[in-house]
């Protein structure tokens, strides 16, 4: 492989120039994906004026963004002023030193060859001292800048994190966690590095102004002429701007894709193995990776191209200075020492400009990131309130759905005229074929999504009039998609109730029949749960997620297939144990196993988002409708030869 690599060096390095590595098939796929993404976005926009529309232009002025940045700097004002002080000092010293140097040269030039050292010595000594001293002020400056920088970028980190958490579930439905994580961590890392450069460039700019002023005092004409190249310079920078912005955007997108693909494939490693997908995975990853390679090179190009250009301009400028300087000297307008000063100091104004141009797109990117940050906290439609300290509601637990309509995507109704009612302490069962909308009902009770029409009342009051966090604190949802968080078993259980004591925890675990297996683990409650709980069996995970909700002691409890991965015997034991607990709480139970719901006070049969019928088990059987059929079917298939009669519980 290495051998062929060598032979293909040219192809591997520059292949992207000539060939399009994405196959047509994939391109089509990508296009489709983009189309759909766009559609989703547009749909969202149609519903509410979406802030997520990709905007080509920035909709915040630089001033807004600087003010935003300032809001982060403010808490560290002291550091900021220190930085400014050291910066000015450094600049001043940096300019002072060559002046002494120039004085020295001027003495020589004046042919003042008097043997006493005393005349030139002070200048030379001052020069050395200033240069050395400057190093210290510069180090102080750098150190302060680094501190300020990490304080600010980490404040931003915290801020962005909590801003992202504030987004509605809808946002996460359309997001990819890999990309999201990558963006947050890498954006801010980028911001940190840009911050470093920013201080440096800013220092240079101050120095530029001072330098130009000083040089001007020596020779206005020479200074003026050598400034003439400035327009040229800005022309180059500006013409590159568009390109660099575009490639940066493309790069960012591709980089995100590679990340997502990488992390998705790490998460799905067992499926990949089971389906012998490794080679295909590698092939696809390689395609994406190469695509990113191409855009990285393009992005790199936009940055490094400034190097040769500015080197050339620098030399060009040098020629001009030499040319004009010679003329000026010959016509006795400047001294040779001043002339040399130009040579020494022209870097002082050349380099700042160069670094400005070189980092220009970095600053562009910084503004871009800043804007994303600023916007992420402005998108009010997508944001949930964050008064997390609020107490749970002291609610009765009456719940009523009145003609509730709901859709995830506009024009695709999922729930239609859902109407049912339950009083405190009652048990409602939602049954129906898969995809009927049962989980959706649970989600809208949690207010993960907003309904489109109708009303949901809790204790007679509209669901949306409650405080969101208080509401969620009073409702417990055992979700169909069990998700344990990386950490210990205890941490997972305490998610619902941080102050739960060990005895409370064990009690909840007893109820869900999970004590035994946890006791067998080497570290008991403190055993590690790996990502998504993949080191536990599916049933064990379900039991823990059930216990977690019990610990939160909710007033209204929703069990969405809470025991689907548990065997009938264990399930029966769990049911017995929680029966007492559910006695005076309203509960909504969703299950395909009809044995689970026989005891309910109200059975709601849903199909395709509509309620077909509702009533108690007995009533529904007598109605001879869909429930009757469903029940019979279940009974027939689930009872084999010898298990003829099913016990109905109540």
């Amino acid at each position: 492989m290495e051998q062929s690599n060598k032979r293909n060096e040219f192809k591997r390095l520059f292949g992207f120039f000539f060939e399009n590595r994405v196959s047509r098939k994939q391109k089509k796929e990508l296009k489709k994906k983009q189309k759909q993404e766009k559609k989703l976005i547009e749909e969202e926009k149609g519903k509410k004026k979406s802030p997520k529309t990709p905007k080509k232009k920035r909709n915040h002025s630089d001033k807004d963004l600087m003010l935003y940045l300032w809001s982060y700097i403010k808490p560290y004002k002291g550091k900021f002023y220190t930085l400014a002080f050291f910066m000015l000092l450094t600049v001043a010293l940096g300019i002072l030193a060559p002046l002494f140097y120039q004085e020295g040269l001027a003495l020589v030039e004046a042919q003042d060859l008097s043997p006493e050292l005393s005349k030139i010595f002070p200048f030379l000594l001052a020069y050395i001292l200033i240069v050395m001293f400057k190093w210290f002020t510069e180090a102080f400056q750098r150190s302060t800048a680094a501190q300020l920088n990490s304080f600010i970028s980490n404040d931003m980190r915290k801020r962005v994190f909590s801003d992202v958490l504030k987004n509605k579930i809808k946002f996460f439905d359309n997001a990819e966690t890999g990309v999201l994580t990558g963006n947050i961590t890498n954006d801010l890392q980028e911001l940190y590095h840009t911050g470093e450069r920013f201080v440096q460039v800013f220092t240079n700019l101050v120095r530029l102004v001072v330098t130009v002023a000083i040089l001007f005092s020596f020779s206005p004409r020479l200074t003026g002429i050598s400034m003439a190249f400035l327009p040229l310079f800005s022309l180059v920078a500006i013409s590159l701007r568009k390109f660099s912005r575009r490639v940066a955007r493309v790069w960012r997108k591709n980089f995100g894709k590679v990340n997502q693909s990488f992390s998705e494939s790490m998460r799905s490693i067992s499926v990949s193995k089971a389906f012998e997908r490794e080679e295909e995975n590698i092939r696809r990853f390689s395609d994406l990776n190469e695509l990113t390679y191409k855009s990285s090179v393009q992005r790199g190009f936009a940055i490094f191209i400034m190097g040769p250009i500015s080197d050339f301009l620098r030399h060009f400028l040098l020629v001009i200075i030499l040319w004009v300087g010679t003329l000026e000297y010959n016509s006795q307008n400047i001294t040779l020492a001043a002339f040399s000063l130009f040579i020494i100091m022209f870097d002082y104004y050349f380099y700042p400009l160069m670094s400005l141009a070189r980092h220009y797109n970095r600053f562009q990117a910084m503004f871009g990131i800043l804007e994303r940050l600023l916007e992420s906290s402005e998108k009010e439609e997508l944001i949930e309130p964050d008064n997390y300290d609020i107490k749970p509601l002291s609610m009765q637990g009456d719940i009523e759905f009145r003609n509730v309509d709901f859709e995830y995507i506009p024009e695709t109704p999922i729930l239609k005229y859902i109407t049912f009612k339950a009083k405190r302490g009652e048990r409602i069962a939602l049954v129906g074929p898969t995809g009927a909308g049962k989980t959706t009902i649970a989600s809208i009770v949690m207010r993960f999504y907003d309904i489109k029409g109708g009303e949901i009342l809790i204790d007679g009051k509209n669901l949306y009039d409650y405080d969101l966090t208080a509401l969620r604190k009073s409702i417990g949802l055992v979700s169909q998609r069990v998700l344990l968080i990386k950490g210990t078993i205890r941490e997972n259980l305490q998610l619902g109730n941080e102050t739960a004591t060990d005895s409370q925890i064990w009690e909840a675990l007893d109820r869900v029949q999970a004590r035994e297996f946890i006791e067998l683990l080497p570290n008991g409650l403190d055993s590690k749960v790996s990502e998504k709980g993949k080191n536990l069996s599916a049933g064990q995970r379900q039991m823990i997620s059930f216990a977690r909700v019990l610990l939160a002691d909710p007033k209204l409890i929703i069990l969405d297939e809470a025991t689907s991965a548990v065997d009938l015997y264990t399930e029966a034991k769990i049911q017995d144990a929680i029966d007492i607990l559910l006695e005076n709480r309203t509960s909504i139970v969703i299950a395909h196993r009809l044995t689970t719901i026989l005891k309910s006070d109200l059975i709601v049969v849903i199909q395709d988002g509509e309620i077909l019928e509702q009533g108690t088990h007995q009533e529904l059987l007598e109605q001879n409708g869909p429930y009757h059929d469903m029940y019979n079917l279940y009974f027939e298939t689930q009872s084999a030869k010898y298990l003829e009669t099913i016990k109905t519980g109540r």
Partner: protein, 594 residues
């Protein structure tokens, strides 16, 4: 011994021409950059001696020509450097990805995705910066020093010695400084990994976090990491700010400039005005470059740390490694036999399976039942060879499972997993997962078998619909049917359904069963389930409890004899009377089970 640095070097020399070009020509390029300084000094000297514009015009044009040439050379170098650097990091990412693909599940169980991702993304970028331009800058600084030696040597040998002394001090100081910085960068990268890990954890768990209103908890966890990271960043930043070797260079620059002026002033050693200018501009270039060196060294160190971190994963030993077998499994006789198999996921954990003895004949359907954590899924994973038995042997078609090649084995086994993992692509791509080149018809047929076709068509974009990360836009049962379709498409000889109907309603389940009943007759099928409808149709039922087999036989037999089996149903059904004590035959053959 291979380490990150060597690995990167090895990768770089996969592109020998470009790498050599960059190294050699960047040395030359510095010289071309320095040459104008010298010409400038000459010009000034000439002017001092009364030259007029026409005398120096030639020099100036030469200078201009040189500038063009230098710019072109610089362009090619930085372009190639950039290309090679990105190529290397792309290769690194690829190698990392590939090496992880082939690691055992035992290995992956102990790994965290967030952590690996931090390496795959953050660390590769650091390496990239180290490669371009940090390495080049370091190289250039060295060339600059050599030029300084020559120039000072031309003035006086004492100055040469002085610059050599300074150079040595400078190099030593730089090394010392760099070594001190290393632990900081290691710490920094490690904590960065943790940071991205926690971010990732919180975002994947966002639905749970929201439903428990545990945002404060999540934030606390996050803030703790951020603050730790910040403290390390602060320490590193402070350390980086005091790149003291520069002080040495600054002092040196001061002395050289001062002494050259002094020499000129005193008329010593034939030092001319031009020499002073030459030295001064060169030295100020040196100080500027040395400042860049501080930054470059920091990135080199970071790059080195990052390369080590990435390489550490590539180089890491795989605790579950087994070499691939040679035998080709043709699926003609998919008999599976467990011979006293015991298994645990890791040495500290209790046994997940103890002394399992079973035999599943070709085309038999076996149902495994048992309470949560009893080891059902573990058995299915062992059959797929995702893990190897800790003790005992698994024989497939009479040969140990280890002797088969991965490819042939897995291409004949398909699974409906208990933890369904769906990809954030289209429905079609998800179904095609096990057979990427499957035709449209095959996909649709599989979807029809799995009773998924209808709902797929009802999605806004049908088979082209994106299903969201992990299939969030699908209901539980819809997701499960996708994974059934995915498994059926492969048309394996061994079909494993690990609780593959748990999210389905009775009606859908019956339809699927009806659709695949023909297929099942020609497949060896292993089903773990809690559904009586499935269990009762199996040829053999295995009852597991705490990793041990506590019952084995047909449904009719077990329901009358086995206490564990009866207790599954006795709550809900009227059971036939118990007949005698349960005594399970431990090895079964078709005769016994019928």
């Amino acid at each position: 011994m291979m380490n990150g640095r060597r690995w990167v070097a090895k990768l770089a020399f996969n592109y020998p021409i470009a790498t050599t070009y960059v190294i050699i020509f960047s040395l030359i390029e510095v010289l071309l950059f320095i040459l104008p300084l010298s010409i400038t000094a000459d010009v000034i000297e000439a002017v001092l001696n009364g030259a007029v514009i026409s005398d120096i015009r030639g020099k100036l044009f030469f200078l201009l020509g040189l500038a063009v040439f230098q710019a072109l050379l610089f362009f090619t170098i930085s372009f190639l450097n950039e290309v090679v650097a990105h190529r290397i990091t792309t290769d690194m990412t690829q190698e990392l990805f590939e090496s992880l693909q082939y690691r055992s599940l035992t290995y992956h169980d102990g790994k965290d995705v967030g952590e690996i991702m931090a390496r795959a993304t953050g660390d590769t970028r650091t390496v990239n910066i180290a490669l371009s331009p940090a390495v080049r800058i370091v190289l250039e600084v060295f060339v600059l020093w050599i030029v300084i030696f020559i120039l000072t040597g031309m003035v006086h040998w004492i100055l040469l010695i002085w610059s050599i002394v300074i150079f040595v001090v400078f190099v030593l100081a730089t090394i010392r400084y760099s070594l001190k910085l290393v632990p900081y960068t290691v710490d920094l990268r490690e904590n960065f990994g943790e940071l991205s890990e926690i971010t990732n954890t919180c975002f994947t768990g966002v639905r749970e976090i929201k439903s428990f209103v545990s945002q404060p908890w999540a934030k606390r966890r996050y803030v703790k990491k951020v603050e730790k990271y910040r403290n390390i960043e602060l320490a590193t930043g402070k350390k980086g700010a005091w790149f003291y070797p520069i002080l040495v260079v600054t002092f040196f620059a001061g002395t050289i400039i001062v002494s050259s002026i002094y020499f000129l002033y005193q008329g010593l050693f034939n030092v001319s005005f031009g020499d002073v200018i030459r030295l001064a501009s060169l030295i100020s270039l040196l100080t500027n470059m040395s400042e860049e060196l501080g930054w470059s060294m920091e990135y080199l160190i970071r790059g080195n740390t990052s390369a080590d971190r990435i390489y550490a994963i590539i180089d890491e030993s795989d605790p579950g490694i087994h070499s691939d077998g040679e035998v080709h499994f043709n699926g003609k006789n998919a008999t599976i036999e467990f011979k006293n198999v015991s298994f645990r996921y890791n040495d500290d954990l209790p046994w997940a399976l103890k002394n399992i003895k079973i035999r599943v004949n070709h085309n038999q359907t076996v149902a495994i039942v048992g309470s949560p954590g009893s080891g059902k899924s573990t058995i299915t994973k062992l059959i797929q060879r995702l893990y190897y038995p800790t003790k005992g042997d698994i024989l497939i078609d009479g040969k140990p499972i280890q002797s088969y090649s991965n490819k042939s084995l897995r291409s004949h086994i398909a699974t409906v997993e208990q933890d369904i993992f769906l990809f954030n692509t289209t429905v079609k791509e998800n179904i095609r997962f096990g057979k990427p080149d499957a035709s449209e018809e095959e996909v649709i047929d599989a979807a029809k078998l799995a009773q998924a076709h209808d709902y797929i068509l009802a999605l806004p974009l049908g088979y082209e619909n994106l299903i969201g990360e992990g299939g969030v836009r699908l209901s539980g049962g819809q997701a499960q049917r996708l994974s059934i379709a995915r498994a059926l498409l492969v048309n394996p000889s061994v079909l494993i359904m690990d609780d593959g109907a748990s999210a389905l309603d009775a009606h859908t389940e019956i339809e699927i069963q009806a659709a695949i009943s023909e297929i099942l007759k020609t497949h060896t099928t292993i089903i773990t389930t809690h559904r009586l409808s499935i269990i009762s149709k199996a040829d053999v039922v295995i009852i597991l409890e705490k990793g041990e087999i506590v019952g084995l036989g047909s449904h009719e037999y077990l329901v009358r004899t086995n206490h564990f089996y009866r207790r599954l149903f006795e709550r809900h059904y009227q059971l036939p009377p118990m007949e005698g004590k349960s005594e399970a035959p431990l090895i079964i053959s078709p005769e016994e089970s019928e």
